[in-house]
Amino acid sequence: MSMESTRSDKSAKRSFNNNRNSASSNSNSNPSNKKKKTSQKTLGVAWGSNSRSSSRSSFSNSPFSNFGSYMVEKNRKLQNQFEAEASTSSHGGSGSVKPIFDGVSIFVDGFTVPSSQELRGYMLKHGGRFENYFSRRRVTHIICSNLPDSKIKNLRSFSRGLPVVKPAWILESVAVNKLLSWVPFQLDQLANNQPKLSSFFTLKRSSVSNSASTHAPCQVNPEAEDSSLKVGTSGDTYFSEVSEPFEHRKQISRESDDLVNENSNASLVEETAGSSGKPCEVAMGIPSNIDAEDESSVKNDLQSSHYQPTALVSSNCINNQNMKGSPSSMVSEPSNQSHSTLGDPNFVENYFKNSRLHFIGTWRNRYRKRFHSLSNGFNCTSSNIKASPLKTAIMHVDMDCFFVSVVIRNHPELLDKPVAVCHSDNTKGTAEISSANYPARDYGIKAGMFVRNAKALCPHLVIFPYNFEAYEEVADQFYNVLHKHGNKVQAVSCDEAFLDVTDSEGDPQLLASKIRKEIFETTRCTASVGIAGNMLMARLATRTAKPDGQCYIPPERVDDYLSQLPIKALPGIGHVLEEKLKKQNVWTCGQLRMISKDSLQKDFGLKTGEMLWNYSRGVDNRLVGLIQESKSVGAEVNWGVRFKDLKDAQNFLSNLCKEVSLRLQGCGVEGRTFTLKIKKRRKDAEEPIKYMGHGDCENLSHSTTVPVATDDVEVLQRITKQLFGSFHLDVKEIRGVGLQVSRLESTENSKQGLERNSLKSWLASASARTEELCKNSHVAKESSNRGCEGEGDETLGQLCGNSVGLSIQMDSNTSNGAACLNEVSVLPPLCHLDMGVLKSLPPELFSELNEIYGGKLVDLIAKNKGKTENINHTLSAYSHEKIEGAMKEGQAARLSSMVFQNEIPVENKAEQHIAKEVLAVSGAESFVPASGLKKTDLIPSSLSQVDTSVLQQLPEELKVDILEHLPAHRMQVFSPNVLLDPTEIPLEALGTKTAENNSGSKDFVLDNNLWVGIPPQWVDKFKVSNCLILNILAEMYYKSGSTGNLSPILQRISSVSLHQLDAFQDGWDEAMYILCELLKQYIKLKIELDIEEIYVCFRLLRRFAMKSELFIQVYNIVSPYLQALVGENYGGNLHMSLKD
């Protein structure tokens, strides 16, 4: 483009940017240079194909062999010019100006204020360099005010790892006359105005020699494979490191142009605990599935192994290479962007992956999966034993500083040293201590404290990162021990549980020491135990027992114990309540007892008041083992939330929805109410002290309720998007987002893919559902609406619940089997089975059923080959579905269950469904099959033979069917004329040819009523016929759903090619005759009440007639008969013209 202009000084300025040109007039460079400056390219534009090709042609006769050499020459010239100017300008300016930009070489990208020319002037003046063309080798800083999105996204390829700085950096540096750190001047779009986590900042090699850097390299990577030393330069406050990360990390580390501020902070590890208490709050603790966790841990393993070679030991971290995410890896962990929602597409996922609260929250589900049978089993019995509160002995077991103990159990040398767990150990960091051991607590270190404060209190504090795998392992061991000693265990958290040891023999205190000993032996971590008469007191006793001790509060000592207890110690009393009480001058439980229940309830509400009143007296009626059903499921992220634009926010929301959806599915629930919570930065709020924290925020929330509960991620996303829209917020102000789902309903079993994978969980979930059923009948109703499957489960569940009551899965299995065997004894009688259903059963299921019926089924099938359809169409379709559902379920269960005997429950279940499906139909309807059978065998020849009471109880359609048949009978009996009539007409039509047949089959017509019975008699006749078309008709009868109407059958036939049907000769006459007969009888049947049906049939027939000889004849024979009957009944003719 403007290549030409740069070659010749004479050529006119052709610039992209007028602003720049006008601004350039202010610059102190000479005019000839200006022209050259106009050729300055913005990156990315420079080497467009156009310019290249055009330049190539223009260079063909130039002294330059190619474009490259031209550019080299040009750059050299520009450099010379710049240097010449620099010398003059520094001469022209005061000679005393210190070259503040020594070693700095800038490249200006795009429009800037001040203009690139002014900047160039400053660089000239102050010893810096100004590059017209970007070069990774010469440029040290990129100056720009604004970047297009595409460049932001591809920052790496754009900046090549160089810092991208605002022009203000140069101006201010000039103003204070020294080189300022560029970090605060980093481009807004990149920096987000936050101090960034570090990474290595590498300078080009030349800058090492050039720079007057005062910063000595702190550390040299021993493994540096590359001779080039990368020196991080920075302001005084930053420490630099020399390192050579992996080859493939190099770019990233270059790109991450932040200074080392909190260097070990850098990683994907998330902060969880926040300054205000809970920045990340796992609204409810039930997780996504375990697979995902496993996967993530695998990933982490990979990562850590990956990073190990780089191992830079920073500060006082020792020995944690075996942990995932060692500090070194954190350091080399790339872009700081992944710490915020900016730029990290997987932020949400990573966030929860690394969140401790998430771990705790999701642990419960893990626990339930693992110990479900146990805890559930005792649930059934626990309610029976509640009555005697006097003798109860409740044990509260709590691991001592769990998160620390687990991590240091492999480091006995640290046992009495102060240790804390935190995801980051940077001494200056604002990461929060999540747990500290007792020696550390002696220094005043508490959970929730910033690392830097903790380090100030205790400089030799050792900080470990989380080790979630170890936590899981220990928690499992912990619960194994507990479950061994008592079957009534209520898990509170991964490290804390209640046991009801009322039933246990022996002294609870002895038991407690035994448990503690075992816990220590298996986990190498200590636990404390509190024993008392109820859960509240047990918990308080643990307080006294800690650390590594046990405490028993006998009932008579409760009052003493409580009287001096600070109110804060009571569970349920938090900051707010405490403050309120303190205002009333209540400091201890003893003082609290002075207040009457009424006034407590008046001040604090009914529930809280009562709780306070009870607790202050050591009264706690909660029962061990009651599992609180979750009221809501949700996820919230309050750390690292920074959005650049709406798209960011939407993307984040959709990820959050995915997470929530996974959690919902994990819990097996669906919700109806969706609440979106937003933390919005207060107008006057400063950047939070805590790195990437949310700071001072307004909490906003909107919610919506949908009619149908869902856990579908797409629905969630849609709802969330709407909710988000209703906030009308500037996304840049958002500091935290949470989505909560409430009004939960349990997911249908059919949808519970995960849980349904094993019979075990199936049984368990069924019984769980039964429990739920009691509480929430409408849920159950809904589930039963959705099909018999649910019903079946519930029944099974009930069976389980009633007959099992035992805690062990095996037991419940067998007893379930027994329960089902009972079912077997009430198998539906053979005649109640729907043949259609039986036939469509898969072979294996059928054979099982057959066994149960002692082989009678096969006979039945054989016998009923054609006469099966007893129940009307809708009914059979319905039951068919149900059976299929049952089958699927049965198969699924069978697949997963290894136990052979499980097959019994499965088939029984299917059986039960059949039984159910028959019984589900009302009493009257269940009579249907029988009456249907009766009809086939002994058709009542007239209405008088039919029991009217039976008739009236029949469902509509059946009754009509019967009534339709009966008049036909009567006709047969009373009006032989009508019957004789039809035989007359074909005779005429066919002439002598058919005379023989007709006379031969007269008896046949008289004897048979083709449309009587279910299925109608003709179906059987046609089936065995040797005539193709008749066979097809019979076949279509079944295919069309066996409604007993002709039109669906004919409609089906219309899809069959009729041409070939004529290709037979044998039995043509017979076929035609019987078809005519069939139609005539049908007309007779329907003419009075359903002319529409006849009309449809005949229009179809007419269509067939256009293709088939046979049908032409049939049509011609029957239609006069039809018209005659229509005329008789309606006083007109059917309008059958071929026009329409």
């Binding site: 509509e956 009509v960 529409e1092 009309y1095 007109g1132 003719n1133 059917l1134 309008h1135 013209s1137």
Partner: protein, 196 residues
Amino acid sequence: MAGETARILVEFLEVAITSIVFLKGVYPSGAFERRRYMNMVVQRARHPQLRDYIHSTVFGLLPFIQKGMVERVAVIFFNTDGIPVERFVFKLAVNLSYGSKVEEADLEFSLRSFLIKLSVSESLTKVLPHDYRWEITAYFRSLPEASANKDVEQWIPTDTRQWEQPPLLTPIKSMSSEPLCVQLYIEHPSLSEPKP
């Protein structure tokens, strides 16, 4: 029982007849307003006289329907000579002896299908001549005794002429379920009918 069925039937007839009148475009469409009946959109006459005519006619039939005397109810479109051009016939059969409870919902479900079918049946009908009239005619199985009921007196013998030839029938919809059986078909003059 029969009373309830008859009431539903009469109500249905009112709506169906209005639909037919609307379908044939006897009056400008502005003369009708959309209403919901049996959970579907139907038309209702806005003009009080028209509405009243249809209403009073079919409700006048109610006692006879209850007695099972009404065989057919026809909406007849005829030209200025009184010669019918098109007749919409409802053939009714009410089972009076039906004992058990009528499921109103089931009945309505069946009747609904008439209205649905009717709304798409315009192609089956004939374009009416320019100047024509219409009336509702009921065919009784037997003539009611004049003195028996005052309602009877409201009914007058029709002067609409009959076709000389049997008409052509185009069934629109049939419904046969206890205790009610309704069939709707259109009658057109047969092709051999002498043209007026």
